[in-house]
């Protein structure tokens, strides 16, 4: 049972502050995913929780106990690395049992525990192999085995699936989700892949530039992003951003007729529309008219990239798999105004 609490956590490397005061409460048994672009501080934060990096300031508390200065080994955490970090000179069994061997558990106990863990991860036939005789997915399962054998309070995952190919990534994602269901342990998971974040998380923490931009459930972040950064980061394909101008009570979107400003949106400088909130219509009743630049067919759905005169970048629209739309054709687009997001100059949602 483990609650994790970060209070005003800070980290500097020399004069460069990389973590700028984090506050976060993680509930017992919760699966929390840290997402953000490279260099946003998500991995550094995870490593501070692990104790591999010292916090410059602030407090990390585990079940109310301050562990900020506690050795990693005494924090009751386990960590799974992107590189798997398996010992190449040890068999699968020795890799999984490494922690127990260090603590000089008797041999029978170690063998029994390793067998149990191997069984749950379907590693039993591989126990005598060396890591280099395993596939990427098998290696990562061994790394997870080494983590779960210790019954830690908190599991930390540092981009564990980044080195796997796409198909295996989906499979391992499901295995990790199942593992969380079965163990009910607190898990903190770092990724830059927002699909992993959306599918695995109870709550997502969006990082940017050493700060937390927003914390919420996946759908919460998707439907109600707090700012332009979160709106643009969560969701694939990404949200479309259209520059807008408010002059004399009227709203101008390039390529559209000026309309009255909706109440409360007077400060808007940008409009955000998700690809699925743009409907294709006959040109006469459309909000925007443009030419299809490119079509991407994914089978179940199709993405169209549409060039609209006056807009700085193409608009992405999401269409059903079977669509009549062809490249170079002219189409009209209708914005679902009820789902559109308005951003002010600072990027905040209005």
């Amino acid at each position: 049972m483990a609650q994790l609490q970060l209070s005003d956590l800070r980290k500097s490397f020399g004069t460069v502050q990389v973590i700028k005061g984090l506050n976060l409460d993680i509930a017992d048994g919760e699966f929390v995913v840290f997402v953000g672009p490279s260099g946003c501080g998500k991995s550094t934060t995870l490593r501070m929780i692990a104790g591999l990096e010292d916090a410059t300031a602030g407090v990390i508390a585990l079940d109310g106990r301050d562990v900020t200065r506690t050795r990693p080994a005494d924090r009751s955490i386990a960590m799974v690395f992107q590189s798997y970090a398996l010992f190449p000179h040890m068999t699968v069994a020795d890799n999984i049992g490494f922690g127990l061997q260090l603590r000089k558990e008797d041999r029978a106990t170690i063998t029994k525990r390793v067998a149990e863990v191997a069984e749950t991860l379907q590693l039993t036939p591989l126990l005598a192999r060396y890591p280099r005789e395993l596939s990427g997915g098998q290696r990562q399962r061994v790394a997870i085995g080494r983590a779960i054998i210790r019954n830690p309070k908190v599991f930390l995952f540092d981009e564990p699936l980044s080195n796997l190919d796409a198909a295996l990534r989906v499979q391992m994602r499901l295995e990790i989700a199942r593992l969380h269901q079965r163990l009910g342990a607190t898990m903190v998971y770092v990724t830059h892949d927002q699909v992993e974040a959306m599918t695995l998380a109870d709550r997502i923490v969006v990082f940017n530039d050493g700060r937390i931009e927003q914390v919420g459930t996946p759908m919460d972040l998707y439907e109600h992003p707090a700012n332009r950064f979160v709106a643009g980061f969560i969701g694939a394909p990404a949200m479309n951003f259209l520059p807008v101008r408010v002059t004399g009570g009227r709203l101008e979107v390039p390529g559209t007729e000026p309309t009255p400003v909706p109440p409360g949106k007077e400060a808007a400088t940008e409009l955000g529309v998700r690809p699925e909130h743009l409907a294709v219509l006959a040109s006469s009743t459309a909000d925007l008219v443009g030419e299809v630049e490119l079509i991407e067919r994914l089978g179940a759905e199709t993405y169209a990239y549409v060039r609209v005169p006056g807009l700085p970048s193409d608009l992405t629209i999401r269409l059903p798999g079977e669509t009549e739309i062809r490249p170079r054709s002219s189409i009209g687009l209708k914005i679902d105004w009820t789902r559109a997001k308005w951003f002010d100059a600072s990027g905040k949602v209005l």
Partner: protein, 293 residues
């Protein structure tokens, strides 16, 4: 095109192969040949003596002495520089101030030829004014005149110390490279799992240095087998054959006593010993290969 390539391949290989044949293969087979003769090294007349030379080896007291010395020499010349090199590498790998300066200093002796190293250490061991005895005398406050290289008890070990002083730098450099190749996250796993410094060294760092150890030991074996010049300079195998090695014994029999046939027989035995060591080494290498690729 294929024909053309083959011509150049053979043409370019022929020179090194000719050199290798002339200076390695030919002498090797000549030794085998002469080991069955009583040739004295210059006389055109000699006769075949069958296995007489090898029978003589079996009863040669000096050969036995040389074989024992060679064993001591090889074990010490492998173990000491390897262990010392590893210790220095571990010390200098952590962020000690001036580590780079120390690395250079410890590496320097390897740049000297064995003849120069032998000469330097002969001076250090000099009984009357050598550095070692001077320091001992200063520290103990009494006169100290021990002749390190002239006493059968200490001659061989004194050379081994000089040899280790020279070779340690090489092992250190190879181990330093090996240490940088250990992935940082493996050491972090040790931290998270709570390994003590000794457990980390014994169970993770040392096994992960196995590829470096293979190289260090290979070089030590090769260098120690070749370690003739430093013994020749410092003791010449003496006193009373106390630092005589097989290579030295072979040299003395062949070129000092003009028993080229007998010397060749000794060299054949030495060759077979080297072959056995290399065979063992390759077997070990395959094991390391399975793990590290």
């Amino acid at each position: 095109m294929e024909q053309h390539n083959r011509f150049w391949r053979i043409a370019l290989l022929s020179l090194p192969l000719a050199v290798f044949g002339l200076f390695v293969v030919w002498p090797l087979f000549s030794s085998f040949y002469y080991s069955f003769t009583n040739w004295n090294g210059f006389d055109p007349d000699y006769s075949f003596v069958g296995f007489d030379n090898f029978a003589k080896i079996a009863t040669d007291r000096l050969f036995l002495q040389a074989a024992i010395n060679t064993t001591i020499w090889m074990v010490a010349a492998i173990v000491l520089p390897t262990a010392l090199g590893l210790m220095l590498a571990l010390l200098l790998d952590s962020r000690v101030t001036g580590a780079r300066v120390f690395k250079s200093i410890f590496y320097l002796p390897i740049c000297l030829s064995a003849v120069i190293v032998g000469q330097i250490w002969t001076w250090i061991y000099q009984p009357d004014w050598g550095l070692l005895n001077t320091i001992i005398a200063q520290v103990s406050g009494e006169k100290f005149k021990y002749a390190w290289l002239a006493k059968p008890d200490s001659a061989l070990w004194s050379v081994i110390v000089a040899w280790s002083w020279q070779q340690t730098g090489l092992s250190m450099v190879i181990y330093l490279a090996g240490l940088t190749a250990i992935p940082g996250d493996l050491l972090e796993v040790c931290e998270i799992e709570g390994a003590s410094p000794w457990q980390r060294f014994r169970r993770v760092v040392l096994p992960l240095l196995a590829p470096s150890t293979v190289v260090v030991i290979a070089l030590s074996v090769i260098n120690s087998l070749k370690g003739f010049d430093i013994l020749y300079i410092m003791t010449g195998g003496g006193p009373f054959n106390s630092s005589d090695t097989l290579a030295m014994h072979m040299y003395n029999e062949s070129f000092k006593k003009y028993l080229m046939g007998y010397g060749s027989a000794i060299s054949v035995v030495l060759f077979l010993i080297a072959l056995a060591i290399i065979g063992l080494y390759f077997r070990q290498l395959r094991k390391v290969d399975r793990i590290y690729g």
